[in-house]
Subunit: 429 residues, 2 copies
Amino acid sequence: MCAAPRLWHASPAMIDIPRADPRAGLSCEVGGHLPQKPGTFEVLAREGDARAGRLWTAHGPIDTPCFMPVGTYGAVKGLDPDDLREVGSQIILGNSYHLGHRPGPERVAGLGGLHRMMAWDRPILTDSGGFQVFSLRGLQKLDDAGVAYQTHFDGSRHRMTPESVLRTQAALGSDICMILDHCPPGDADAALMRAAVDRSTRWARQAIALRPEILAPTQLCFGIVQGGTDLALRRAHLAELAALPFDGLALGGLSVGEPIPAMHATLAEIAPQMPAERPRYVMGIGTPFDLLAAVRAGVDMFDCVMPSRHARNGQMFTFAGRLNIRQSRFRDDSTPIDPDCACRACRRHSRAYLRHLHEQNDPLYGRLATIHNLFFFHQWVGALRAAIRQHRFGEVDRLFSSIIAQFYQREPQVTSKPRREPVPAAPPG
Amino acid sequence: MCAAPRLWHASPAMIDIPRADPRAGLSCEVGGHLPQKPGTFEVLAREGDARAGRLWTAHGPIDTPCFMPVGTYGAVKGLDPDDLREVGSQIILGNSYHLGHRPGPERVAGLGGLHRMMAWDRPILTDSGGFQVFSLRGLQKLDDAGVAYQTHFDGSRHRMTPESVLRTQAALGSDICMILDHCPPGDADAALMRAAVDRSTRWARQAIALRPEILAPTQLCFGIVQGGTDLALRRAHLAELAALPFDGLALGGLSVGEPIPAMHATLAEIAPQMPAERPRYVMGIGTPFDLLAAVRAGVDMFDCVMPSRHARNGQMFTFAGRLNIRQSRFRDDSTPIDPDCACRACRRHSRAYLRHLHEQNDPLYGRLATIHNLFFFHQWVGALRAAIRQHRFGEVDRLFSSIIAQFYQREPQVTSKPRREPVPAAPPG
């Protein structure tokens, strides 16, 4: 926290972030627009490759660049819909692997769909569940038509196909559905990477063919580009997927164990080549520094478990770096986590009290900490979005690159870690 | 839940409960009164022994009869101050034993006191911690001056005296402080009961003598009447304590393992004999049926961990009896816990979703369930309070006695259980 004084001078508060009006029916920041057809994507401002826009879904618009909190099981752990609105979430992520088994797609549909079940009336994007199934090492068997697997819940056997993941997401009622892709680990060899790309293309074509029959017309469908950090392979796969009529394209297979510089190089090279008229989504990243790099490369959407998971582990994000609330030096600290932060935790509570709640295993700790970290991520991406709209992104990028890098790039690991919801290595029993 | 239709006809919604205005600075229901000196107690309505009143503290008034949720460690588990306001809590309980060791009275004082630490600006009552120390079987040694004990936290050795508990509560800044008493188990023999009463009287006199020096003039101090279910002993102890200038008197040593009929008989006999011009508090009870019996006997204040602890275990209170949300029959149940309930959980979420959150160990479950149960308890006591004010308590008592008894009296146990925050039997290590 030593460089704090320097950082307060460069706070994102310098950039006026238009706030969403929580009383308005829509989640977006800028009003006065008639609702648009789901899938409509408007680029409102550009600066270099970076862009600010708006994507319309059946549950309203989202302002891009946009950070999406992860609500694996139909809740962002410990937060209710009001908390999510309060921190500024416009869209959240659900996971088809988890929800597909607990409580199950038919059950969610019977409860009126995922939105109704969790009382969240803003957009929801659902992952296909493929990432989770491919992380079940030794418990999955791949073939050309799909992947057979045993769940980590109870070891029961199931099969996932390009069709089944769409059917699950149709039942959940997601606004944005992701197709099944083959996501190899970051250290996979070239042959596996190549095979994964070919398989993912075949599955993508199947998904496009099946979509009209399975998904509602208001449900968007995104393709996923693989290819690891092999730029030629990435470009080839991108060209294949860009030719298909997806509503948006995602970069998968990043932050899965590859070296961080290679991840950033891939982002910088590939993202600007993705179709400009459609939203671009990078799955499962990342640190505040990763988000800056992705926005610079023209990415519009991100999701990451980092803010919520780190919060539960005591790690708090601030613009002066992370702090670990479990440290004993906070025992008598009556200041908030971040004196400049306007979140519920910082407006009211001291570091000492949060530390005390953490020590006592009080679930209030997890809620307040998650609220703080999500607020930080939304503020950060909101500041970048506002900067692009004001044609000040270059200035903000220069100002923050060194500072954010100082605090968030030099993390102990040199290879990226999976930032999406993982599953345990072996099923119970 | 079979008798539900009958019960909806007798819902407390029939009785108009004036709601606190959350925007007002004061917590009480009826405005238009100038703030009164802490300790001022007004009885506003009487019907039989039952009475409705208002007690003023340094942090505003509470409307009596009043239910106080238990926030052992400086939080009602998982709830933040807005949640407590939303469910209708006017005052909460803290525990000096727990807070005295974690995080410690000096630390709480350094953070501005318990109110500031937890950002709760309404009244707080703190227990002396004596009940917890006497529950440390085998780890405490009693003498005339106090009790030596080892904590359940780390086995460290400490001493609790009539003076030390007041000093702890002075540091916490509680609005209502409880004195140290000797609370024997419900099955203690007559000699021990007698000795406990004598010791409690001596300690009460010491507390009264020490109070001006230790407590702030705005901190109220309540005495505690012991004597188990021996009515003669209770009367004798009551007479001794009533002679001392406490701001209010409590009945301790109930719901500590004695037979439930004996507890109710003691309540019915002793409560009406407590000084009428001062608030009456029964510690650590109870079920909705117990509360009705206590209000009928003229008790003004109650605290109990039952609503919050039962919530975490899946037990939900409704006016048609308890339901256990873990049961598989709720798996596809799209109705709220209680269709007539206006709490945050019932307004928005289904039994199926709450069950799903419970299955996934999502902390949002605990928060929503605790909100529901506390809302139920506050609605129930609020309905009794409104009935007394409208001189309809007799009518309501008759209407509900049979129904509430049907659902809440015939519980499996025949002896009462400790309803205050217990401590484990042995320290770690």
